[in-house]
Amino acid sequence: MPEGVVTPPPAFPRGEAVGRWEGMLRFMRSAGFRFALLFAVIFIGASALFALVLWYATAGSLDRQTDAAVRTDALGLIERWREGGPGAVSEAIADRLASDVEGTAIYLLLDANDARLAGNLDRWPPGLPPEATWTFGTVQREGAQIEARLYAIELGERYSLVVGRDVAEKQKLRTLLAEGIAWAAVAAAAFALLGAAVLRRAVEMRLRPAALTAQAIAAGDLSRRVPISQRADEFDRLGGSMNDMLERIDRLMAGVRGVSDSIAHDLRTPIARARAKLEEALGEQTDAETLRAAMEQGIADLDHITRVFGALLRIAEAEAGARRAAFAPLDLVPVLADVAEFYGAVAETGGQSIAVDLPVRLDVVGDRDLLAQAVGNLIDNALKFTPSGGSVRISARAPARERIDIVVEDTGPGLSATDRARAGERFFRADASRGTPGSGLGLSLVRAVAHLHGGDLFLEDASPGAPVRGLRATIRLGVA
């Protein structure tokens, strides 16, 4: 979609119900809703766990106490049965009932004919098996039916015993506790929903500046940046990263615009010059020699244009990493020596000298041709700006494992700090170099080659503080 174009509303508005469903689905898919849901689930889970622990420690404890008391009571009566038979058990039951101050004890002893011998129940509880069985049953007390915990035992000789406790009071406590937990659950659910809503709103509000900025940029306003708060939290870090990204995009786009402008400017001049010369030669009554000279000049101008395009393509290839497939292990020393020898003749012509300081061997993995061209560009630049009688020094060393420095120093005027900062840009030419031939692409290619090999290009004064500072250009190769 073209930049800045807004999608028009549909010609036939969809139904309100469909729109509402879509809105609901979009809301449920949102990160804010999912965070809020997660919060609610965790909150309710924690509340449920708390309620279970509370129930186990209170109602569960009451039940366990009752069971323990009934079991102890039953074991005591079984012991009496073994010692004295039915009579002893009857007397023990009567005795225990007489001292049951709480009034919760329940006993019943039946003989082999199901006749009641002792206890405070008028009959065997319906549905209660005589063998060792625990159950919750119902008994009648003062006209009301109450809950009781009952334990039935067969003593022997078909004598049956029921030991139990009236748990109506404990049941009331349990009901109160259950009601409390139910109300607490309602409150917890309400708090969970409220907290979830607040959380969702907070996430939405914190993301809103970034979303608005992204929308504005999508609409074409590239100057917008994400406002950063003073909280220094994750959202601020995200906003900062977005702003860094936008700054970089801005710089790249400015670079692209600058390159386009430079291409238009730098190519228009030789094309216009060639055209003017050819037109001039064609229009005038010139001899064959003059016509030939004009054509040669035109061809030279076109060759220059071809070289500029070739350099641009090579830089683009290096920056895109397309040449990385051609990387191979190589010894850098003979490559540098060949380049130095090639430019040695040029230096002699200009009255300059080239000094070489290379180790025995420098192993590197890279593109031989690109490295040779990068070093050649540096030497070419150095010779171009070094006056007659000056010298250029080429050295290389490996100061650290997996790092190689290739240094080209000259005794020329050097570069100002401002020019050094821009020296790697395409078509950039310092004011002092306007009069020398060149396209402003040499150092761009060097920097691109250094980046391709996992390194960078560094420019500094060769002799800081000296009247003639010179320039030291270092290609630092890293792990490619």
């Binding site: 101050v101 019943l108 009959r123």
Partner: protein, 90 residues
């Protein structure tokens, strides 16, 4: 524990079951909340050595009075305290 929490509705069903189960076997009745049991406890207390001393004596009198006034459960509770006090006194 979950079973404990489920017990509430189960108990409600258990309690309500006799209402719907017409003709079912009658529920067992607790017999110790009655004037007869008050008298039985009084007879059990009487021969105890500490029955005439305080606080067993007062508790027994209160218990019998409550039983005569139609509050056998409270009366039984007082008489049981009286028996316990008499045993401790002894």
């Amino acid at each position: 524990m979950v079973c404990d929490m489920l017990r509430l509705p189960i108990l409600a069903l258990v309690v309500a079951a006799p209402v719907f189960a017409t003709g079912a076997e009658p529920v067992a009745r607790v017999t110790t909340d009655s004037p007869d049991y008050c008298r039985e406890l009084a007879q059990r207390l009487a021969p105890m050595p500490g029955a005439r001393t305080e606080p067993a004596r007062s508790l027994a009198e209160d218990g019998l009075r409550l039983c005569e006034n139609g509050n056998p459960r409270s009366g039984v509770a007082r008489l049981r305290r009286a028996i316990r006090a008499a045993r401790l006194e002894h």
